[in-house]
Structure formats: C-alpha cells, structure tokens
Symmetry: C2
C-alpha cells in the first residue's frame, strides 16, 4: 500500500466517522505533513484522491473543506460489486448457455468463425433484496474453464483470478421501462422506469472480455463535479 493511499484512507475514515462538520474546514497541508510525517507532495496526492471521490474540495488561499455526505455517499457510476463492496451480495442464475451471438456482438468481440460466447442472466441481490438484473456475454476462447458455479460470485473477481488484467470499464446509461419478467424479478411494478447500465470490460491491448447489460431496480444515480 502506498503512503498516500494509506493517508487518504485514514482521512476518509475520519470524515465518515463524522469528525468534521459538513462544509467545515479540514486541517491544512502543513499540519497534515506533520501529523502523518509525510512531505507536502504526498499529502497533496492523498487530498487529491479525496477530492476525486467527492469527500472534500479546496480553495486556493483559503483551505480544504469537507463536503456533505450527499456528495460522496450516494450511488456513483460504479459497477454493482464496487457499489455494494461491503454488503452481502449474492446471485440467482436464471440462464447459462453458449451462443453464437448476433453479428454486432461478434464484431465487438472480434470473433473468428466458430468461436462462441458464454451468455448468462442473473438476478443480483443485496441482503436478499434484488438490486439488479444482469445479462452478460463473454468469449469462450478467453475463459475455457468458465462454468455455472462461477456465476454465484463476482465475475470480475473470476477474471482477475485468472491473471487477466482489467484495464478499462466503459459504461453507458440509458432509461428503460421494465418488462413483465424483469419487473417480477426485481419486485417492481410492470412498466416502471429504471436505469440500465451497459458495461464493456476491456483487458489489456483492447481485448473486450465482457459485455453486460445491468438493469437496475433503482431509478437513480448521482454524480458530482467541483469547479
């Protein structure tokens, strides 16, 4: 663990423990260099991390200020596994098969003749409450030993355990209306509105490893930008 990440985590813990008022001042860089026995550069890197995550903001000549929880507690644009990192996340597998895939899908994965795709659908639950419906495609050629039992954990973790390195995670968000099946699985009204996140997970060298459509039970996501 690098020093600046360690410092950042300590500061985040302090903020989440409520040691600072919303919009209140954080100690200055000079104080923090002494507190953590680190150089100003390192402190600044840690604070910059906190800024990116929405915990604080700063004003030149004035100081660092703690943001209200609304700015960092809400769902940001992350994948399910990130979002519910410390929660009790489980899955129900609705389908698992091997398919040809549509022309567009095959083009996206750069598949050759004969190469196929895993295809599966899962309900994702947090504390036994459904939070999302997932439909995923992955190339068989990359994951020869993949099987249904891997579907009960995090597929991202499976990929990383295979020593593949995930380099990019591209997301697109769109509004959808739940069909009757989706509504039933997510315990919502039929036709209710929801956000759909489309992921593309890339390995090194532009290799597309996974294409996922995640239909959320919730109809809200938040984002923050600071000038």
């Amino acid at each position: 663990m690098s020093k600046y990440v360690d410092i950042a985590q300590q500061l985040i813990a302090m903020i989440e423990a409520g040691e600072y008022r919303s919009w209140g001042v954080l100690e200055g860089e000079l104080y923090l260099t002494r507190l953590f026995s680190a150089s100003r550069v390192t402190i600044r890197k840690a604070l910059s991390l906190l800024k990116d995550k929405g915990y604080i903001h700063s004003r030149q000549g004035s100081g660092y200020y703690v943001n209200p929880p609304e700015f960092y507690k809400e769902q940001h644009l992350t994948t399910l596994s990130d979002r519910y990192a410390n929660k009790n996340l489980s899955s129900i597998v609705l389908a698992f098969d091997i398919v040809e895939g549509s022309d567009e899908m095959r083009r996206m994965f750069h598949l050759f003749e004969g190469q196929k795709l895993y295809h599966f659908r899962r309900i994702r639950l947090v504390d036994d409450i459904p939070v999302a419906l997932e439909e995923t495609w992955m190339p068989v050629s990359l994951f020869e030993d993949f099987n249904e039992s891997d579907l009960y954990g995090s597929v991202m973790k499976y990929i990383e355990n295979r020593n593949y390195v995930i380099s990019h995670d591209f997301k697109k968000i769109q509004a959808v209306q739940l069909n009757s099946e989706a509504a039933r699985h997510l315990r919502k009204e039929e036709h209710s509105l929801s956000l759909q996140i489309i992921h593309k997970v890339y390995l090194l060298k532009s290799v597309l490893a996974q294409y996922t459509i995640e239909t959320q039970a919730d109809n809200q996501l938040s984002a923050l930008s600071i000038r």
Copy 2:
C-alpha cells in the same frame, strides 16, 4: 494559463487530430519533458489530466496508451453548456415567474419567510435542434437584478459574471417518460424514454444558488473508469 494545462491541451489537440492510433502508444515521459521543456512532475500532471478526461491510460513499466474515441467523444456527465461548449446553443423561454416554491424547495434553499424564487422553463437548442427541456428555480435574494433577458444565454455565465463563485455542481440522473408537452417541445414521441438530470448548483459556503431539472432529448450518457 498554467504550464501543465497548456501541455495537456496540446496533447489533446494532437490526439483529436488523429496523430495516434487507438490503443497505440504515446511518447514516454522522458521524451515529453524534452519536447515541452518541462520537468517530469509537470508532464505527469498534464498526462494525469488526459487520463481523467479519458484520452489515455498508462501502465507502470510499460507506457502511455491512447484510448479509442468512444471513451472521450461521447456525452459525459456534464451540464449542457459544458457538453455543447463550442456549439451554437440557444434557448426558447416557455415561462418566467416568481413563486413561493414548495416546502421542500424552500427548505433546500434555506429561505426565510417572505423570500421568493425565480422559476423558469426553457427549451435548449443546439443548431436549432432541441436537446433538452429545463426547469429551474433560483432565490430572488441572491440575484436581485435577474430578468427574462438573461434567460437567452447561459445562466451559469450570468451567475459568474455577478462575481459569485460556483463551487459545486451536484447531479442526479433518473429515467423518465416524456409527457405530451415535453415530447412536443423535444420533437419526440409521447411516452418515449429519456434521461433526466437534476442539478444543484452551490456557491461558496454551502449556498444553494440553483436547482434545475434538465430533461434530455437523448436517452444516453456515458462514463469511463480505468483501473
């Protein structure tokens, strides 16, 4: 203009001009220090900016790589004025009045007895094509001289011209179905799905200056995260 921002802009211009292949390598830090006569720290700050904007990614021990346009060209989670920065943006004002506001709205703005809110609705157009419908509330007390003629430009610009400093811009995204009026204004089918972005614009010291509901004509937004 600081040096690292200047360098970042030059690099972005080169990437957008197509001087690099997607997933291709960018020159290393050492080369760039010589090219721009800057220290390694400065080059790294510039490259870090490019990373944040989705133009490049890097791998320790390997190098910097240019992302495909999909990762930086699409609509990110920005306000309209950012998104269409260099386009021909105009407005049609549908309504402009001064209101009490709901209890929740008054609480959000911390209004005292008697204080009121500007309220207006606009169609926002790019090259005369409607891209969004906007409904906004702003406290009268902050902007005594605000009037309808200010609605034809950017309200953000108006705020900054008044020497107010915008510190935060909080956004929430949700799925909605266009009602008949919205659909007509946006030239879409009634009941078609769309994304709605709810903004809260804060000045210094937690002063809420603007609350806006922006209903998009488009049903897509994208985001990127890199490991």
